[in-house]
């Protein structure tokens, strides 16, 4: 997993509540057995004018000029600003894979779908929960100031306007923070407890043998 420490980048606003995982990456693209290459189909139904199917040359497809990520001023954005319940819906990890593949490193929203929230961490995409009012203000700033950038400092747990005028704090579980800061392999970490797992398993097998075999 890629580490996350400090990141500064252009912010793109996606002003809709309840953006679901089907919208982030439509199911026809889940047939891939790889983890990469989903970026061109991120928000496919909103981004393009035609119906997307796997294997198309996405560079040749007609873009929807109204969709925010197609607007020149947001080209190269690495921070997505979103509304409540972002990433609700399915467990598909293809959603964070697509966001990362597109170039995003962080998503800021008042709340997230829980499985998406988890999946994001596992891939080095930082989901940041800010208060509704703070998110509102950020939507305002993004609209008002072309080229609006934010700086995210994971260690200090802050989101700051690039000019330093505004600093907001966010919460994160210490364990998740540690994994993200160090880019550690969680499986490796867990396997350090292999003896505890085996002991637990042995007890369980004795008490509830029907769960085994």
């Amino acid at each position: 997993m890629e580490k996350f420490t400090v990141h500064t980048g252009l912010v793109a606003p996606l002003d809709r509540a309840n953006v679901d995982t089907d919208a982030i990456i439509p199911k026809q693209f889940l047939k891939s057995i790889k983890r990469s290459g989903f970026g061109p189909n991120l928000f496919d139904a909103w981004r393009y004018r035609d119906a997307g199917v796997p294997g198309m040359d996405n560079a040749k497809r007609p873009l929807n000029p109204d969709f925010v990520l197609n607007q020149a001023r947001f080209r190269g954005a690495t921070i997505l600003l979103a509304r409540t319940n972002f990433g609700c819906g399915s467990s598909r990890e293809h959603a964070p894979w697509a966001l990362l593949d597109f170039g995003f490193r962080a998503v800021i929203a008042p709340s997230f779908g829980e499985i998406f929230f988890n999946n994001a961490f596992k891939n080095g995409l930082l989901p940041i929960v800010l208060a509704e009012g703070e998110v509102d203000a950020l939507f305002h700033d993004v609209a008002a100031f072309p080229g609006f950038r934010l700086s995210i400092d994971l260690d200090r747990q802050t989101v700051a306007a690039a000019d330093g005028a505004k600093i907001m704090r966010f919460e994160i579980d210490p364990f998740r923070k540690y994994c993200l800061l160090t880019g550690l392999d969680e499986i490796g970490l867990t396997l350090r407890h292999a003896d505890e797992i085996r002991a637990f398993e042995a007890r369980r097998r004795a008490e509830q043998p029907w769960l085994f075999g």
Partner: protein
């Protein structure tokens, strides 16, 4: 100390705790399907790791599999990428192993959340995980069951554990008797309408009350299934006689002396009297009417005798815009009577409503009637091979066929339209599935979520009708 069911399930699975409360939870049952597992197996291979406990794995192919032309075998999967996923699962299970595998074309193949319970592979007190958000279904058996992403699938395969943090607890208390024609689906849709799709975020939900007790296991599974649509990762129901009777004699359930021992332990799987929940929501079952969604989120739902809401009456700007956008996508005008909405297709299936009881209920409405001529396609897709054969033994397939429904092979089918079953742009569907998101059932398709009875009645009428009034 008094404990909730969730406390009990949680505490009995903690292997190790970090200082901040992150816990290593032991996983008893790992369900695997073709869409969310290939990258996990691949990563495992690359890292040279083994599956920790293959006898915890139960696998099937369901999302991509066709519902017609099974006699063609694997070549019946026309889409080469779908075929590759199904074959990749075959390869992975062959090389890594599993307790049970129901591949494409197997007589017991079916939707992963249908085959687990019907084979007794889901047992009370288990932790059940799957790379699929509707794993919440299995909570109906007093399991701690939730959906995980592919990295977590890999983590569970490699370590038999999951890193997790305890949620807050919510009690959803549903008392009173449901009216005839009102179902488990309507309970859960009404709940989502009440608390919203983010209302359960951060919570584990326990369903209780006389209306829940009165539900069959199929009904409880329907309710727990859609818990994820209320924002909560897991929903659960305490063990009672209904749970135990359902499990008796199932292939993977314990037998003989072990069965008695198991039952004795399962009986304790309920919240202690006086247990405290962080939030309590109460619903009066007598007041719940058949529900129909009108928008592109399951919370956009009203009763059949109501109208499509008017965004102009919504004060919150984000919500108002969301409603207007949903109505535009759905091709609906504000204030339209729900009963006036005409449909093009009907889908009876999915892990929410494709079990035998669902098919019986739909067939009872359809029996002796015909699908309206304006309806282009009415599909029944049983949840599994076993459900299909049971329905055929009862003659339900004939009832559906004679009415003009197509009777298909089991799978996820038009719930998410990864196979050939889908809506065309602009088509409107009465669907017993769980998500009405934009494009879910096909690009540009318009989904209205309803119960099996309501879907069946809509098929016959050509538009939504109140199943309590008609044909009962």
């Amino acid at each position: 100390m008094v404990k909730t069911l969730y406390d009990k399930l949680w505490e009995s699975h903690v292997v190790h705790s970090e200082e901040d409360g992150t816990a290593l939870l032991y996983v008893d049952r790992h369900l695997v399907h073709e869409v969310t597992s290939p990258q996990a197996f691949e990563a495992l291979k690359l890292a040279g790791r083994k599956v920790w406990r293959t006898d915890s794995v139960v696998a099937t192919a369901d999302h991509n599999t066709p519902t017609t032309d099974w006699q063609l075998g694997i070549d019946g999967i026309v889409d080469p990428t779908s075929k590759l996923q199904v074959k990749t699962l075959d390869d992975n299970i062959r090389s890594f192993g599993a307790k049970a595998y129901f591949p494409f074309l197997d007589p017991r193949q079916g939707i992963v959340h249908v085959i687990g319970p019907e084979n007794g592979a889901t047992l009370p007190g288990m932790t059940v995980v799957c790379g699929d958000s509707h794993t919440s279904t299995h909570g109906a058996f007093a399991c701690l069951a939730f959906g995980i992403g592919t990295s977590e699938v890999e983590h569970v395969l490699a370590t038999q554990c999951l890193l997790s943090r305890k949620s807050r607890s919510m009690l959803v208390q549903v008392d009173g008797a449901l009216s005839r024609g009102v179902t488990a689906k309507d309970i859960v849709l009404a709940l989502i309408g009440r608390i919203g799709t983010a209302g359960g975020t951060g919570y584990a939900i326990e369903y209780a009350g006389s209306a829940i007790r009165a539900l069959s296991m199929e009904g409880r599974m329907t309710v727990c299934n859609m818990t994820i649509e209320a924002g909560a990762r897991c929903g659960m129901v305490a063990v009672d006689d209904t749970t135990i009777e359902y499990l008796r004699g199932r292939p993977f359930a314990p037998q003989g002396e072990l069965w008695d021992r198991a039952v004795a332990q399962w009986r304790a799987l309920e919240s202690d009297p006086g247990a405290k929940f962080d939030r309590v929501v109460t619903l009066d079952a007598r007041e719940i009417k058949p529900q129909v969604t009108w928008g592109t989120s399951p919370e956009m739902v009203v009763a059949i005798d109501e109208r499509v809401p008017d965004p102009d009456r919504e004060k919150d700007a984000t919500r108002r815009e969301g409603m207007a956008r949903a109505l535009e996508y759905m091709g609906l005008a504000p204030n339209t009577l729900m009963g006036a909405i005409r449909i093009d297709k009907v889908f009876i299936g999915s892990c929410t409503n494709s079990r035998i009881e669902d098919l019986r209920a739909a067939a009872a409405v359809v029996k002796g009637r015909r699908v309206a001529s304006s309806v282009k396609l009415a599909l029944v897709v049983p949840g599994s091979g076993q459900v299909k054969r049971q329905a055929e033994r009862e003659g339900l397939d004939r009832v559906f066929r004679e009415a003009g429904f197509e009777w298909r092979e089991p799978g996820c089918s038009m719930c998410l339209a990864m196979n050939a079953d889908r809506l065309e742009p602009g088509e409107r569907c009465a669907s017993t599935s769980n998500r009405n998101f934009e494009g879910r059932q096909g690009t540009g398709g318009r989904t209205h979520l309803v119960s099996p009875e309501m879907a069946a009645a809509a098929a016959v009428a050509g538009h939504f009708v109140d199943v309590r009034r008609q044909w009962r």
